[in-house]
Symmetry: C2
Subunit: 252 residues, 2 copies
DNA sequence: CGCCGGATTGACTGAATTCAACCGTCGTGG
DNA sequence: CCACGACGGTTGAATTCAGTCAATCCGGCG
């Protein structure tokens, strides 16, 4: 209802933040209409990117932040001894490039996983606007803080979870994020390859494949190529929380 | 020279930011004298904490950020299925509590590793001051960005490095940080236990111990209890970069 | 049709965990 | 003063989880 009647052209239109369905998730969240208007003034809309195109590259001067309007993006960096490490997957409403705040240049590369449309927010102008609009500054800090929190959650995972739990966490996380965006939490398409998932989770792609098979045999999910259906969310949740505590009753 | 003549009492004195030896590392970095004066106005100095005391706890409302004046602190959180995950070790000049920006409550717990003195910066007042002092706001953003970058580096490590490389990275990182603070990069004391190191690096404490032994047998370091001497920094560096590329010549 | 990339499956290997014994240091209390 | 236990650390042996190598499958595309 809120959206334009022609979804196919949505990404080509200059959708204002106020009209965007993602306003509750994105940077303008919680801004009053006047402040939102100001923010809209500096946002630029770029042509949609094709799958595999690079939004920005590690080391480039950080001139802008990018909000995903539709599509998905992976953040990654090459590791010194050869190879690549994926640091995150981003969905509509997410803000990219925050890592660049620390050094004035991006610390990782952002590559689209599918056709993706983007809103560009020039960083200098955002900083200036933050100085004028306290609510925006506060929200920006909140987003930075949440980026830190998200990475901490990931550190926790890589630090002490087994392959099975990692993949379950990954699926649950995706499920929740799709749900927040108004999509089904029980049926969605993975925009990333098994290789990418494994890389992200610190696992070999074969291990990812095997764990998917394992979940499927247990009847918890169905997976066909990139399409996932979750049948027993609870089973996956139990896997994530109850581990290493086989013998615990009501203790702790 | 810059410091007070009586080091034992230093932590009890109200050392101004301008006088603090950490000014180049800490939040006031790059502020002009007038702005620094303003920041000093809101900083509070707390009594030194003993080893093992908790500075703040996960879930508590985030009322302040904390700068370490002397000592060291670990950031950690309990994992759902029991156990603990350490997310970072912090040294003088580091700012703690940034993770709380995202949710208005701390996402992890901060515990001292030794006697530690702290400067407290009330968050509300800092936000207000940021609105008035653009340079401070900019610097605050930079610190948030660097926190993100630091965690990305850690994700990279946990994602695809072996035990040997992890420990070498860990030592090199500590070495560099001590160096930045004017201490010897080649001889220092670990303020954390083997258990903590292992937990942080995603390894069993026995593995940490064995790798230390391995480095020592190779003549790269000497380690006695908590005291580390690095004899061949280059050997450790080589370990971190050149891995998985035994056969590479000039390629790539 | 045959090729190619992504995904699956199987067999084998190995790095790191786990379990366990042992050691040295420190602090406490008899 | 020494005995004791607690704690942190080291070392050894057995186990296991996941990585590696390799063969095969499947769907899409030229």
């Amino acid at each position: 209802m809120v959206q334009n009647a022609d979804p196919l052209n949505l990404c080509l239109l200059k959708v204002s933040c106020a009209e965007c369905s993602l306003v509750e998730l994105c940077l303008p969240r919680c801004l009053d209409p006047a402040d939102m208007k100001q923010l809209e003034g500096i946002v630029r809309h770029r042509r949609p990117l094709q799958r595999g195109e690079v939004l920005y590259r590690r080391g480039e001067p950080m001139r802008a932040l990018y909000a995903i309007h539709s599509g998905s993006v992976k953040n990654h960096m090459s590791v010194p001894g050869g190879g690549e490490q994926i640091l995150g997957f981003h969905l509509p409403g997410n803000l990219l490039g925050l890592d660049g705040c620390g050094t004035d240049s991006y610390t990782c590369t952002a590559t689209t996983l599918e056709t993706t449309s983007i809103c560009e927010i020039p960083y200098g102008q955002l900083e200036s606007l933050c100085a004028l609009v306290p609510g925006l500054n506060r929200e920006f800090h909140r987003l930075l803080g949440r980026a830190i929190g998200a990475e901490q959650a990931m550190l926790l995972m890589l630090g002490n979870k087994k392959a099975e739990e990692r993949l379950a966490s990954f699926l649950l996380h995706l499920s929740r994020r799709y749900c927040e965006r108004g999509f089904s939490p029980l049926r969605f398409n993975l925009s990333m390859s098994r290789h990418d998932i494994g890389n992200y989770l610190g696992l070999a792609l074969e291990t990812v494949s095997r764990q998917f098979a394992h979940f499927q045999e247990a009847g918890w999910i169905s997976v066909d190529r990139r399409e996932i259906s979750i049948h027993q969310l609870d089973a996956l949740k139990k896997l994530v929380t109850h581990t290493l505590e086989e013998e615990t009753g009501n203790i702790a």
